[in-house]
Symmetry: C2
Amino acid sequence: MTTSVDMLPPLQGVRVVDLTRVLSGPFCSMLLGDMGAEVIKIESPSGDPVRGQGHHKNGFSWYFAGFNRNKKSVVLDLYSDEGRSDLARLIKTADVLVENFRPGVLAKMGFSQERLDELNPRLVVASVNGFGSKGPYTDRPAFDFIAQAMSGFMSVNGPEGEAPLRAAQPVTDLVAGLYTAFGVVSALHGRNRDGRGQAVETSMVNGVLSMMAYLASEHFVTGENPQRTGNDHPLVAPYGLYDTADGQIAIAPSNDQVLQRLLTEIGLAELLEDPRFDSNAKRFERRDELHGILDAALASDTQENWIIRLNRAGVPTGKIQTLKDVFDDPQIKAQEMSIDVPHGDRGDVRMLGFPVKLSRTPCEVRLPAPELGEHTEEVLSALRDG
Amino acid sequence: MTTSVDMLPPLQGVRVVDLTRVLSGPFCSMLLGDMGAEVIKIESPSGDPVRGQGHHKNGFSWYFAGFNRNKKSVVLDLYSDEGRSDLARLIKTADVLVENFRPGVLAKMGFSQERLDELNPRLVVASVNGFGSKGPYTDRPAFDFIAQAMSGFMSVNGPEGEAPLRAAQPVTDLVAGLYTAFGVVSALHGRNRDGRGQAVETSMVNGVLSMMAYLASEHFVTGENPQRTGNDHPLVAPYGLYDTADGQIAIAPSNDQVLQRLLTEIGLAELLEDPRFDSNAKRFERRDELHGILDAALASDTQENWIIRLNRAGVPTGKIQTLKDVFDDPQIKAQEMSIDVPHGDRGDVRMLGFPVKLSRTPCEVRLPAPELGEHTEEVLSALRDG
């Protein structure tokens, strides 16, 4: 039996009551489900709005499916006494509660932190929200685009001299969901010692603000705002997109050693001794001229060949891929980053694979995304019997 | 004594041997340190290259400081037998090893997975890398810009009709580091049951690919590549940046109910009955005209007032903030997202605060970023005595 215990997923035995809908919260609870937690998604009788969003196939939203694998669906009407009483009984059996309401809404529904402590002092209560539960913006409605704007994320993105730009990806939802999942598992680990739960919270603004990394450090030390530089590096040249015989390549020589390798491989080894280009400051000042010289040298071979040659020489090199390119890429295939998941009558749904690879207990789809209320009877009758 | 046990951070007692340098790995180990793990950063005699990067104050890199709080620094020369033997003894005492070498490099240094299992079967071995340890690109050098290009992340970012654009933030490093930290704590949780460690890995490409969210779902179901649409929504209007009396606001009405609230608040309630604008399809088709109508209505009040009024009405609204704006923002202050950390003779270093808020055991800076080798004697002598 040792072998089978060894194969159990890391969060096996962790029960998550999931009150979230749409994106940030469902992403968080899916991450916990992918690690083996039992996630009970509580839906209103009309269901998570994402069930109706995006393109459908066989009457099913692939957007919904991609964010709700490894979950059970239980319908509760939390406006009714019965629904709230079922939720209370469920909370008593849970290890984690995840919600992405505005701060204060859960308390208004009758589940203040005090009530939750009373119901279950071991409960880890996780909240993903827009701005955090302290401060003047707590009650504001949250949305990814707004969080990208408010957090400084947009201020540094965009072509040089042009307007700030959002990322098309809902990065603030997803980063907050991921941080919250990390916080939940950390709190569960701490609970193993002292037996007590606690509240865990990440906001969309705080999460994505933490992605400012050295842009924030440099701002703190210099007092300056970082500038938009498009695809060029703000301080280093060469760096960016260059033309080959048949397409662009992205090159990022991160230090002088890598730059030397690049120039040697493309037949410009002597350039670093040229008095016009013998320091980064000079190269940066003449970066347009330098760009032309590199483009000319790179015209001697193809995109694919340069990617192979330069990587082999130790120079990080790649190309801009569309999503079609990405999922045709042999590396992405080897990493199983798209998976086809049977969904009964709905057919196979293709979705993203697992970004975290565990060697002994790899993540897997134990449950496809549920039909609305698919597990209501199963979950509630077990509560009543219990 | 119950009280004091209750106040211990969640990862108290977890020892992390940290072989990482630069960005993705140090971010991962800092997250573990922020949650209370003892992080022992192994540095070569010349130190993490980031010690020499970015602006310095009092001879100290604030970039380094911002990514290396809550760590001890131990200098080992892993090219020497003595260094490798010290590392082996350290590994025996550890719960987690984190590395961000290219796959295979650690094994070449004498620490294959087999050797690690032998030294410490309970060890969680975490790897943050560029492309993953399986597949044709495993040996390629990794860099954020390249991972943004290869993952599809850039393909959807940029103004409509213009070239793909990277995000200025090193998102691929940070997202991979965060996923890995989540994987590590999950594996530690699983280890509580079966006593065995395992390998945990996230690549920069896989991590950021998982951020494609519904863009990926829509691609899978339709077969189409998502298009670049700048700050506009690809399907919904109104949505985006609008002019007020004195500056732009970002508005994101996520559904018809929110749109109704927006139009009512700006005095255009009748617009939804206008046959030119009574469906999203029509609004999207006439979005330039609609944009002009909204700009005209919004000219009646200021940016700050509209942000207050619209949020109060339940419409997610904000403005694009620079980093200076962000750190002056009362919400960001209430959330303590910048903190000043004393660093002895180096003075106070300002850095980003903690995005994950824990109610009972909040993250704190227990240790400022270390001087190179500051803890070599302390850590190694404890090993020798042990």
